[in-house]
């Protein structure tokens, strides 16, 4: 049984020094934007770098996480499910218990504080499943900021509950009818808004993608998940976890969990992408595990699903929050270095895991998070009962009840 071992030479000890000064993670990341936004990104970077190590700012952030979000979130031993799977012990990092129901709020609290410090009276956001939109609308309501949320028209249809939540919170939800009408198009439209209203508007990006400094600051604001999980692992089972599992769309919840462990070589990590109908069918949203080429979209270079002509591909997933053709640039680097194993879970496996956790543990996961659970289900039996897997339960499933009910043929 491993105790608190310290590895003196880590294979991956340089990874926490990234990005470089220009926002690059090896060949990925960067700042690929039209010139009008360069100034705003420079400004944001300066603001963030000056506040990152400012104790007052950190204290304000920590206070909000404790008293508004309800952190720390528990690390819950899914004992019954572990026993049923017959292998490693599964521990769920309960981000679903956060205020607004997902990890997304960690980042929006942080960015809203930056918006406040920048004196911008208006925030905008893109959203897929609506979790980031809800989290943004929530902090905007609290700080009295004007809030517009861009959401693909197809997602507005499949996430009606979150749309209404955002409206109740006082946000204006703008359906985006261009392109594929999903998350990537919402992000295009948010960028168009930002370039037009850059003087008075702060763009709260919801994932570890976008132009530098977004991948860095979204990572930093979400890293609280992994810091807590690391501490809780020692408290609960007296060792580092043997494996971490998290779903990856843009990759913010996975980044949040993985980052504080990235230099712990012995902790094996699995990022689970949206396999849709199956990676082999081409109808998925899994750029890393399907071997998609490198590309440039939304301000950064990364792995990107695109056709031979460089047109961005349509994606398919049961979960709107993972329905994105790219992935955060730091994940792209971690794939190349072999630091994280990127795998996929398809829609059928995801629904099965969704139902199983609900039945066995009384916890209804978001369909996004159910991707991580689906992989944990495969992984656990391959490990010993004295080994431990931490799964990021990144969000709760209330928002997905309609989707699942419709699949069951139930109309409300």
């Amino acid at each position: 049984m491993a105790t608190c071992e310290v590895s003196f030479v880590s294979k991956f000890s340089d990874l926490t020094r990234l990005p470089d000064a220009r926002g690059h993670f090896g060949p990925y990341g960067g700042r690929f934007v039209s010139e009008t936004l360069s100034f705003a990104l420079d400004e944001l970077e300066k603001t963030y770098l000056s506040l990152r190590d400012d104790p007052d700012f950190q204290a304000e952030f920590d206070y909000d996480l404790a008293h508004y979000v309800g952190r720390p979130s528990p690390l819950y031993h899914a004992e019954r499910w572990s026993k049923r799977l017959g292998g490693a012990q599964i521990w769920l990092k309960r981000e679903d218990l956060n205020h607004t129901g997902a990890h997304k709020v960690n980042n929006t609290i942080g960015q809203a504080l930056l918006a406040k410090k920048s004196g911008k009276p208006r925030v905008i956001a893109e959203t897929g499943a609506g979790q980031h939109g809800v989290a943004t609308a929530t902090v905007a309501a609290r700080l009295g900021l004007e809030c517009d949320v861009y959401m693909g028209a197809a997602d507005v249809q499949r996430q009606k509950l979150n749309v209404y939540r955002m409206r109740l919170l006082g946000a204006n939800v703008i359906p985006v009818t261009s392109g594929t009408q999903t998350l990537k198009d919402a992000m295009n439209e948010a960028l168009r808004d930002w370039v037009t209203n850059v003087d008075n508007t702060f763009y709260i990006i919801g994932t570890v993608a976008g132009p530098h400094p977004y991948p860095m600051l979204v990572r930093d604001f979400n890293a609280v998940v992994g810091r807590e999980a690391r501490r809780q692992s020692f408290e609960e089972f007296g060792a580092l976890p043997d494996a971490l599992v998290a779903c990856v769309g843009g990759g913010s919840n996975a980044m949040g969990l993985f980052y504080p462990f990235v230099e712990d070589d012995d902790v094996v990590m699995y990022g689970v992408e949206a396999g849709g109908d199956g990676v082999e069918t081409g109808r998925h949203a899994a750029p890393l595990s399907s071997g998609a080429p490198r590309g440039v979209l939304h301000g950064n270079r990364t792995y990107l699903m695109s056709d031979e002509g460089g047109q961005v591909s349509d994606t398919h997933s049961i979960s709107a929050g993972l329905d994105y053709p790219g992935v955060g640039p730091e994940h792209a680097l971690w794939k190349d270095l072999g630091r994280v194993n990127y795998v996929a879970a398809n829609d059928t496996q995801v629904l099965e895991a969704f139902r199983e956790l609900t039945h066995v543990e009384g916890i209804m996961p978001a369909l996004e998070s159910a991707h991580a659970l689906a992989y944990a289900k495969t992984l656990a039996p391959t490990l010993r009962p004295d080994q431990n897997i931490v799964v990021n339960l990144s969000g709760r499933g209330d928002k997905d009840i309609m989707t699942v009910a419709n699949l069951d043929g139930i109309e409300f």
Binding site: R22, G30, R31, F32, V33, S34, E35, T36, L37, S38, F39, A40, D42, S178, G179, K184, D185, N188, L191, R192, V195, T196, N197, V198, D199, P293, R294, G295, V296, L297, H298, G299, L304, S306, E308, G309, G310, Q311, V312
Partner: protein, 275 residues
């Protein structure tokens, strides 16, 4: 700017300068409303007085563009237009027009997807003279910039109202061909420019570079072209032309005439300014 044999863009601006004229630079999306029309449109634009042609590469996610050019991209993509077709179009155009510079304007991903080296080689072979990658500021041009330069193609960059003086100096140091000044904060085709504001922003750039300063975004007609022409070396017009294409997709044979009417009015207005 390093020395190179004078390409068509430099030649064109040298001629215009000696004549005291402003450059008129139309933009159309290649392959809109279908690939078979583009070369004809290019010739029509030259007949109506274009000095340089900007040819847009259709892209699925044109983040810096307003609805007019987004829809043009969608029309072209629906017809399956890709970079290889665009190279064929320019090649065909060059059979009868060897003088008018052609600048390829688009987003980086289609260029990267075929490989930047192959892209540069094919662009040069087709007779393209410059490349403006909208989402590639000079800081990110480390790879494409030298490749373009090695083939005598100009790297053209944007300068915006929000660009700091420090950044403007960097952009001027890297830019070739001409500087594309974006007249307003926003996407293409959505607002009206403020000529006094443009003038105020161009003045410091004059002290930084000898590159011709061309202004785009918000130029709709002869009057706005003339306003800008008073302070700039060239005017760039895109959405005003592309919206004429959009209005005539059912009668594409009418489009060359429509384009000529819009551009011709601007040509007249600009030539009335000539000193």
């Amino acid at each position: 700017m390093t020395a190179q044999t004078m390409n068509r863009i430099d030649q064109c601006f040298a001629n215009l300068k000696s004549q005291g004229r402003r450059a008129l630079i139309p933009f159309i999306t290649a392959g809109d409303p279908g690939p078979e029309y583009t070369v004809g449109f290019m010739h029509a634009l030259v007949e109506a007085g274009a000095d340089v042609l900007e040819l847009g590469v259709p892209f699925s996610d044109p983040m810096a563009d307003g609805p007019v050019i987004q829809k043009a991209c969608e029309r072209a993509l629906k017809r399956g237009v890709r970079l290889s077709h665009l190279f064929e179009m320019v090649h065909e155009f060059r059979q009868t027009d060897t003088d008018t510079p052609v600048v390829l304007m688009g987003y980086l991903n289609p260029m990267e997807r075929i490989g930047l080296e192959a892209f540069t080689e094919q662009a040069a072979a087709a007779g393209i003279d410059g490349v403006l990658a909208v989402d590639m500021p000079p800081e990110e041009a480390e790879e494409l910039g030298p490749l373009l330069e090695s083939r005598g193609l100009a790297s053209i960059f944007l300068v915006a109202p929000t660009t700091s003086e420090e950044r403007a100096a960097t952009i001027c140091a890297h830019g070739q061909g001409y500087l594309y000044y974006v007249s307003l904060k926003g996407v293409t085709g959505t607002a009206t420019l403020d000529a006094a504001d443009v003038s105020a922003h161009l003045a410091p750039l004059r002290g930084m570079t000898d590159l011709p300063l061309c202004v785009g975004f918000g130029i709709r007609d002869g009057a706005s072209a003339a306003e800008v022409g008073k302070v700039a070396d060239g005017v760039i017009v895109g959405s005003a032309l592309v919206s004429r294409i959009a209005a005539n997709t059912e009668t594409p044979e009418a489009i060359p005439g429509e384009l000529k009417a819009v551009l011709g009015e601007m040509r007249q207005a600009l030539d009335a300014l000539s000193d």
